[in-house]
Symmetry: D2
Subunit: 257 residues, 4 copies
């Protein structure tokens, strides 16, 4: 048994799922059930989880069944991010927040300067902050220093599907901080998820890779198994790489590069 524990919260699955880009709340629910995820992230600015007089995503993904992780997607300033994070917290839905302070509408890359500032404020107010950040280890350290319980570096730009662009940076982040590292953004297919988990990251959050697959339900199942396979492979301890079975010395980094 190998649960992910962050703070005093225990997670059933290391796969976290976003709710954007689905044609209906019913479909969103079906896909998330298939993925086995218990953490579901929702853009407070875009998807209704606060008003009871409109179709509400939480009717389909109730907090009794799932851990709702409100996020501040679409917020471009510290003030905006604080506003929506507070709205979600004060609604009583969850003390958790995936904090996004977006720096660029084209790439949706984070504004790490604003991110650290907003995180500090939200932590001081009692939020449990999961920051969407770049793969910069110095920023990761600052986020932990201001009280974030985990860091969520991007593997590649949001919605790119490029996979783990910079494994070296993720490794350095894992060496640098002692909180869990959840890869957020960039995974495009099942092997990307397996690669990330095999590196030893603690979990993965994804949205587009599932929502934009030709068959999202089948991809959700693929991702569940890929995350599990990658985690087991990490824990099992892989065989050494060699140029061939009887090679006299282990391989240095020359090959795949």
């Amino acid at each position: 048994d190998d649960p992910l524990v962050i703070g005093n919260i225990s997670f059933r699955s290391r796969l976290w799922i976003g709710t954007g880009k689905y044609p209906s709340f019913e479909m969103t629910r079906k896909v998330i059930l298939e993925s086995g995820a218990d953490v579901v992230t929702v853009a407070v600015r875009r998807v209704n989880i606060l008003r009871k007089d409109e179709p509400n995503l939480l009717d389909y993904l109730p907090p009794s069944e799932f851990k709702i992780l409100p996020n501040t997607a679409g917020c471009y300033t510290v003030e905006e991010a604080l506003r929506y994070a507070r709205l979600a917290r004060e609604s009583g839905i969850s003390p958790l927040v995936k904090l996004e302070v977006i720096g660029d509408p084209k790439t949706l890359y984070p504004d790490v300067t604003g991110l650290v500032e907003a995180a500090r404020i939200l932590v001081s107010e009692g939020s449990i902050v999961f920051p969407y950040t770049s793969d910069d280890p110095v920023i990761a350290k600052k986020l932990v220093d201001v009280g974030c319980v985990a860091v969520m570096p991007l593997a590649a730009p949001i919605g790119s599907g490029l996979g783990i662009r910079n494994p070296a940076s993720l490794r350095i982040i894992m060496e640098t901080v002692s909180v869990p590292v959840i890869v957020d953004a960039g995974v495009g297919c099942a092997s990307d998820a397996a690669i990330a988990m095999e590196m030893g990251v603690d979990g993965i959050l994804m949205n587009t890779a599932v929502a934009e697959a030709k068959n999202p339900l089948l991809m959700a199942r693929a991702m569940k198994n890929a995350v599990s396979a990658g985690r087991d492979s990490f824990l099992a301890g892989r065989m050494p790489r060699r140029l061939y079975a009887s090679a006299s010395s282990p391989l240095d980094g020359m090959l795949g590069s």
Copy 2:
């Protein structure tokens, strides 16, 4: 439902497992059960499956439970390969044979010239031949032309754990032959298996990646899920790759290279 069918044989799993390098037949059985494999390959020259008066692997992996795929590992000439392939066939254990004609004791790379010749003779004798070959599409075509029911190109040298060294070659083989393509040799960890399956190969045979993992049982489970995840991901149809979500054009091959 998505079974692998080769000739008139239907396979429960797309993960095929080798039996070398385990400390005991008991352990071999436990690992294979964990992997979910129904095809088990055995080196006729090295592991007893023919004599009843010695400890016999088939007592642990009976043909009633598993599809036994005798192989000619350790055979360096056409004559040797034919001899052991015939021994296995005439014993009645299986009409299948994984044909290996090894060209080099250091790398265990196949001798493709001898391979095509031995395959032609065994097919004419009624064997169902699965050839261990290089990733050369012209040789793959010759193997099919002489009657092989599948081709089993290496992903990397036997026992290397280097993963899919040349996806371009595997893709060309899949374009070139219409029989199933089973990747044989080179997989080192779960993500390697997922990557291969995601490319669309029909199955994977592996041994060292499981047997030499620090925890073979856990790696066996990882591989089962990775093969399943990779297959599902292939069938589900991945999202397109883009430099970022709002990029105006899809990515050409420049990035990952």
Copy 3:
């Protein structure tokens, strides 16, 4: 003819060279001459270019022959960086400064928050600032917004020799800013330099790859030619990638990944 021009300064070479890790000032000079570089960067905190009563690097690399680019390596705070940048500027050696605000003594990764702040101040004082930064495009934009004449993103950690870890990020930076992009840190061998230049970056600064080669003089020549080859290859416009010559469609990003 294809000179690099930044501000009103024209550069003879797109290869910029560091001066650390050489056994003597004589050797430093020989290697730099072999590299063809006209920009030479010097750590003001570590190497004497200010005092006339000690062995002075500028006796070997006089500003009449080379463009001296003082840098603030070893500075961990905005205050330290400002202090050494001002010392260099006020000495009259050069109005240029390669600004480093280091965030972590282990990886020598930049502290991008401090970097933007220090850059703003130095620009306002009249310095011509070349900031050593991460590969974060939002930070690159901020640096340009405060007046930097170029950005110098790392290709990989200082002294790692890992090569271009994240070509996607460099491409996004090149799309995002209109000032020249000089890759700083991470190049390990000649092909790394060629790859970077072929992507279209404007220049490369390196130190360890030359200084720690077994034969620094020969590697300096290799780097000169690699930078030139990569630049020409970029300008010449490469052939398209295809799975094979007669392939019906160009390749997507699936291969190298």
Copy 4:
């Protein structure tokens, strides 16, 4: 000084150039001069080098100035390859032949079985044989055993521009044979050439990468410098790869893969 010597022939350049796909013999000559190549390969079946009553490529690339390497491109059987190889040899133009026995019109992949047979016959007749082969080390060994003076493995399919698809195979070939290894086919840009040379191959033959560049003359210069840079970088001995400068242990193969 570092000349390539094969048999008793000394080569001025490690870059060998093909003559296909140019609009005129004049342009072919200009590009080859710019590349610095002294070896020029010509498809005997396609380009006139034998008849004096027609426009003859050798009027533009005379054997007094260049080493002409006739090749058997377009030959799909042993008989065809022998016929054109003999025509070239008997014409007195050169005792050298780049032997191609093509196995597949789509990918232009070699038929290695036919190749070994044709090589054996041509060597016995006195030809100096440079075989275009796959990256199979067992076939490379067979080619040397029948008397080839070098082996010319493909880096990727002819005309693909995919670069060095399988560095592991090239390394194994270099470990396996003691004759020079000339990479033939697959290079697409200058960094591909630098990467191959940096691995320690003895030379590179290319055609499409230059001929199909938007500016072939400029790409020819790029390739000359890239081959030189890669060779120097190989000889100079690169710095070790590390996760960062102060990392306690060298990197295994995990990163680039």
